[in-house]
Symmetry: C2
Subunit: 247 residues, 2 copies
DNA sequence: CAGTGGTCTAGACCACACT
DNA sequence: GTGTGGTCTAGACCACTGC
């Protein structure tokens, strides 16, 4: 064997290798949908055995950062060439048939530069007053407005994002973030509550103000646990439900 | 190496081992909180290498069926000796401090034998009219009623469960199921909606009927994907939120 | 100290994809 | 066939636990 690198604080070799691969992903050495070097190549590069590289890749694949394909190679996960339309959205039609209802209709209501309020700044790890992009849109299924969401993006990484870019783009929003801005969302946290809409919200969703709605506040993170998106959604749960699996 | 057993349809050896261990868990060969045989012993028993047993155990540990403890052994997961009070409940106080608010106060409203309605029977894999146990209770945090839940259990496995057993028992309900009835919940699915309470529900939770609530319908499964519990909860989300992590 | 799980290696062979 | 990931083995050594 060989010490792959200096070992300041102890950690298993495969964890160190995992960290090195993660670095390369962050630096963009391999881009989404591309293949990373084979296990043997990486083993030589890092001076460890193939099995050690394997264990590192196993964990990264379990985290959905890499995708293994037997006989072909290991690829950087991507939102762009994906069958599922939505990465994190867990709203399912009551009959469970997502194919019948087809893709959502999207309507951008607003997309403007703002200065971050205190709470937006806090969750995006910015300072109050830093430039942010604010987007508001409605998603409809079968011509029924179902989701009203408002999202904030840090101004720096998303410089140049406009309402046109958003509405012209076919495919998931996270795929656009990836291809156009090099920002890949890796994981997210959601806080869910039941709320009643205010008058503006109820008119945009075309429901009574007495209609209870799911309030879903999502913070999405890129590599390194860096928050890159705050999204506040109101979901109409008359014909859909939020599905969760626990284990 | 050696074929551990006949191999009717092909699958990796470690998957077969995983299945054999799962069987032993179901049959109760090793009970919750007990240690299973060491990796070496299992390797001898199944006539495979230690590494193969290891991979099987790794997956079972990832599924929360087993718990590894270095230097001590591998143990059957249990709800009984657990720090966390709740296995599947993801309702978090707004300030995030679960210790401050302490354990919930529990009040059993009702516990009676019933005949399964059509929809209860369907999710519990019973026939309509089969005996089921119906329990209704309220959980309060800091003297504020927060959760109203109704749950149905199949009558067979839970024969002998009474309101007294439930209210006398200290600790998580799933721990009682485990120790008294040998039923261990392994995973669950939830369907979440926003709703308004009816008049009975609002009075039990001591809220207005106009207060939106989270409706959480949970189906919990034991080994083998056998449904063992249907739980319908109404959560008050004024001072708590439902937390979910996506990846 | 002995026994457990945890890491790491080196090598063999299998399953799959492309050419 | 060649190259990829996937499985399996055997053996060495490390880290932790408890006697």
């Amino acid at each position: 064997m060989a010490g792959a690198l200096n070992t300041p604080a102890f950690s298993p070799l495969y964890q160190q290798i995992k960290g090195l691969i993660l670095n390369s992903l962050q630096q963009g050495e391999w881009k989404p949908s591309e293949a990373i070097p084979s296990e043997m190549e990486l083993a030589v590069r890092f001076r460890v055995s193939q099995g050690t590289v394997r264990k590192a890749i196993d964990e990264l694949a379990a985290d959905n950062l890499l995708v293994r394909r037997q006989g072909k190679g290991t690829f950087v996960a991507t939102h762009a060439e994906q069958q599922v339309q939505y990465r994190f959205l867990k709203l399912i039609p009551d009959d469970g048939d997502t194919k019948r209802e087809g893709p959502a209709q999207r309507r951008i209501i607003d997309c403007k530069r703002q200065r971050a309020t205190a709470d937006v700044a806090r969750t995006l790890a910015l300072r109050t007053g830093d430039p942010v992009l604010q987007v508001q849109r409605v998603l409809s299924f079968a011509d029924t407005p179902t989701i009203l969401e408002e999202l904030w993006l840090p101004g720096g990484p998303f410089k140049g994002l406009t309402a046109e870019r958003l509405s012209d783009y076919r495919g998931p929003m996270y795929a656009l973030f990836e291809t156009e801005f090099g920002v890949r969302m890796v994981r997210a946290e959601e806080k869910i509550r039941a709320v009643l809409p205010d008058s503006l919200q109820s008119s945009l969703l075309k429901v009574e103000q007495s209609t209870p709605l799911l309030s879903v506040e999502r913070t999405a993170y890129t590599y390194n646990d860096t928050p890159m998106e705050l999204r506040r959604g109101l979901y109409l749960t008359d014909t859909h439900y939020y599905r969760n699996e626990l284990s």
